[in-house]
Symmetry: C2
Subunit: 486 residues, 2 copies
């Protein structure tokens, strides 16, 4: 405990401003975990609400000097436990570093602090006549720093790509407290290893991102939205394949299954067709040919067996439909709560991606897994990317229900890998999928990931237990995983 | 020498097929260097013409066992010496690994061996109704493996990005001969550190790429080409800024100065306006609004002071104009030869990028540098990306001319960095710019690059002396650089 006492004293001395270093249980309570369901958290030594890069560096130096773990945190809207506190850690919250430092419309770039809310950056870009496309589900509360640390996706990705494609440069506090600037301000540049991409998605295990230079885009113009209902999941999946095979690039191509439709309609009635087995939601950017593209999508949906196919007549209607998609997670949570009166309903959100052509196999397989485990699993996701978010409904008060949910979770990941997919399309590894990551990467991949980790964080203080597969030689699977595989 | 003898015997034993292991001076001669002008090369121990990943791995294992350097090579069309042999090295040529393993039109992916010629991949993609956009200047002879190893750019980048944006996954032979597969086959995926991006652009210093999964795109449709001549470099630069500021995204935006125009016209007469100080070449993808976009570009060029502005009436005319741009390097080389009858004329091709808004400053600065050093420097490049390729004309038979050329080369890089740019937009570091890389990255950046290098190649056998800044503590600049800076 001497180490802890010394470290705390040094932390206070290094960051003497009131309210920056939180130590009491009640003050630290909001900083313990993210939105992940199956992940526990530890008791940190302190929470630092950093306001400057210097404060982040000072906190890391104290941690390095005492060998304490460091857990960086954004808005804690993640779904994998990547931001969860570990015992004895110095948690560094970046949410107060929320300045947009510069927007350069001519260069189509912005320089931002990590605590900037994604929605705020999007609004600011819009004020300059530009767009910042990435739109993770939590974009109204998530931070850019968290988006970069997890390489967050969203609905735009099918056309506009994930967060990483918009990151030009970073400022990063390294494991020894030194400050690195990497990347560039130019449109092109190949000087040196691509450390920017290495830090992007590394979930705070290689360094703490304290400034981000993002690329902005000119606005795509108006868009046109098509919604099609299907009597079968397979029909919707086939429509997705047909749209991609036709050489189209919709700006959004989302799928909601019947359970999600019912949950959303239950949560906020908006006249969705809850008798359909699946709803496909597509948008295309209009130039003058948007109308033709929308008509082509409608035609392909009908050919794939769609029942009702409707093209939104105005932006408000389209926005209502996107809103329905965006509230899927929240609606499912509410639905899960209502499903177990007197219990403790909740959802485990999974995140898998397969080659687009295997989407129907994935979705029908998930339905079979749900039946076999006797749990309700709703399916919603970015169909155009083959990226699905099965929501597994469980009663947390019932260990058998939790257990069945976990088995379903693992079986879904296993199926995704068997179909040539990945264990995470966009949510990341966090604490949730370290065992599955080992399975996906294989021993050489795991060894290399650890070689990089050791090179950048030799003492292993940065966000331990997250993002990486168990070190070579260790098993590291959860008891559940050991029982079920991988 | 015992090591060398042993290593050779082991190499022959591991790869017993005739013609795979080349040892004699004459057989090895074609594999000694790339197209870079200022870079020397050493004498390799052997050249391995690998036909399989197993042969690559076998060669690397022999090298690792004996501590010999390994130099991987594609078509040797690079311009930085990255592929140049070093003394005692096992050079591994990948050009014979030239199979297109699979094209999956539904997933829009292709799996290829590294020796596939860029043009061949583009043609094969086209046969499947798709495009592989990256088009480095040498695309008709360069290999995909070399493109990935250098993260090559091209004319398409202003809209479609560089090679790295099309690399989904890799197979890589590591420094110990183990075989890694990294990346994914799905549209999205965030499992583990992004090793794929780390290997991309690492110039063979972290591993040898033996298979590549690339992303393909649906074709953009027809395009429309605008060509505008300017009486000043500044006018052309201002037109570029205006086009970008207007929120346009041309698919190509190239600049050729008067020297290049004269060299091209000299090389292959095509009626280019050699009285103009600069020619701007723009293309926009047409949908039905391409006509409007082309008209807008023409209008912006006129507003920026263009003399003649012409919109190509057909594809053949557009292709002729692109052809003029593509032959710039070759034409400049021919022109340089003709400029020193009885001498040994040649060009040093530089490659710098600045924020687009600084392009005029860069170009006028380069003109001033040329005047100050008494050398002829032509300017050509990807203006829409702020990426310029000054061609410095020298007489290799005249040490004073070479010296002046080198000073100009360094001064151009120095200016680019001073303008917030980078020392290489797309050609890479190779042997040519290791000193400048240190200048650009700074000490923390250099330290981190070496940490990664040591993690993946602890013995330092992979392409030594390339791509990295001199190790921390060493100077490593060329004598010229020591005199001139940085």
């Amino acid at each position: 405990m001497d180490t802890a006492v010394d470290a705390l004293a040094e932390l206070q001395a290094a960051i003497p401003v009131a309210g920056r270093v939180l130590r009491t249980t009640d003050l630290m309570a909001p900083y313990l975990r993210d939105e992940a369901f199956l992940c526990g958290h530890g008791t940190p030594l302190a929470v630092v609400r950093a306001h400057t890069t210097r404060e982040v560096a000072a906190a890391v130096r104290v941690a390095a000097a005492h060998g304490l773990p460091v857990v960086p945190q954004g808005a804690r809207s993640g779904l994998t436990g990547a931001a969860n506190a570990v015992d004895g850690a110095i948690v560094i919250s970046l949410t107060a570093m929320d300045r947009i430092i510069a927007v350069d419309a001519a260069e189509r770039t912005a320089v931002v602090q990590p605590g900037v809310i994604t929605a705020t950056l999007r609004e600011t870009a819009a004020q300059h006549g530009l767009v910042y496309p990435p739109d993770p589900g939590s974009w109204q509360i998530s931070t850019i720093g968290g988006n970069v640390a997890t390489n967050a996706g969203g609905m735009c990705c099918v056309k506009y790509g994930v967060t990483g494609e918009y990151v030009l440069g970073l400022e990063v506090v390294l494991a020894d407290g030194e400050i690195l600037r990497c990347g560039r301000r130019t449109a092109k540049g190949v000087a040196g290893y691509d450390l920017t991409s290495l830090f992007t998605g590394s979930e705070g295990t290689l360094g703490i991102i304290t400034e981000i230079t993002v690329r902005l885009r000119p606005p795509p113009g108006e868009s046109r939205t098509v919604v099609a209902s299907f009597a079968s999941i397979a029909g919707a999946g086939n429509a997705v394949a047909a749209i991609i095979a036709a050489g189209m690039t919709p700006s959004l191509l989302e799928l909601l299954d019947r359970n999600v439709l019912r949950a959303v309609e239950n949560y906020r009635p908006m006249g969705l067709d809850t008798t359909a087995e699946a709803l496909l939601l597509a948008a295309v950017d209009t130039g003058p040919d948007g109308r033709a593209a929308a008509a082509a999508i409608a035609r392909l949906c009908r050919a794939a067996g769609a029942g009702e196919v409707h093209t939104a007549t105005d932006a408000a209607e389209a926005e209502m439909l996107f809103g329905a998609r965006r509230m899927a997670h929240q609606a499912m949570q509410q639905w899960a709560i209502s499903m177990f009166p007197g219990g403790d309903g909740g959802v485990i959100v999974d995140d898998v991606a397969v080659p687009r052509g295997r989407l129907v196999e994935l979705m029908t397989g998930i339905a079979a897994i749900a039946t076999a485990q006797g749990v309700l699993v709703s399916q919603v996701g970015h169909a155009g990317d083959g990226n699905l978010h099965p929501n597994i409904v469980i009663n947390r008060a019932d260990p058998a229900s939790v257990d069945a949910g976990r088995v379903a979770f693992d079986e879904i990941v296993r199926l995704s890998l068997a179909l040539g997919g990945t264990c995470t399309g966009e949510h990341g590894i966090g604490m949730l999928k370290t065992g599955w990551l080992a399975h996906e990467l294989g021993p050489v991949g795991v060894r290399l990931q650890w070689a990089v980790k050791h090179a950048l964080d030799p003492a292993g203080i940065l966000n331990p237990g997250k993002a990486l597969a168990p070190p070579p030689g260790e098993n590291g699977m959860t008891p559940r995983q050991r029982r079920a595989g991988p």
